[in-house]
Symmetry: C2
Subunit: 80 residues, 2 copies
């Protein structure tokens, strides 16, 4: 089973990396760009085949290691 | 219109960051973890309302700035 994890900054949190990308895109002439937010995308391959157990394990991984829940949100999608 | 861009390393390319995450998860006792790959996730807000034009613009952004197409793949999802 594979877990697809998206980690994004919470909406109030300043995103300097996203700002830098937006500025670079404007400098390249992409004037239609309004705002850019950068996040992380992590794919985890799991031996676990039980969906509920896998979800619980990945949730723990995010809380303990992958995401900083003070400033970041995360979403988990499980695929077989 | 919003573009969701996933940038991932091509399958043959070594991913030391993903390896480090996998090792850290094993050290924390998550033994069900097989493999981890880390990628980037970028959300771009566009003023453009025409879907085809937006897709073409984001495709150009990825090729010129966001992704290194020698070692990375990217996928684009457009949402209204």
């Amino acid at each position: 089973m594979k877990a697809r994890i998206h980690i994004t900054l919470k909406s109030g949190v300043l995103d300097p990396q996203g700002r830098a990308i937006a500025n670079a895109l404007h400098a390249l002439g992409f004037d239609s760009v309004d705002d850019v937010r950068q996040g992380k995308y992590i794919e985890v391959d799991l031996k676990e085949s039980d969906k509920a157990k896998a979800k619980a394990a990945v949730d723990q991984m995010c809380g303990k290691l992958l995401a900083n829940t003070v400033i970041e949100n995360y979403t988990i999608d499980l695929v077989d």
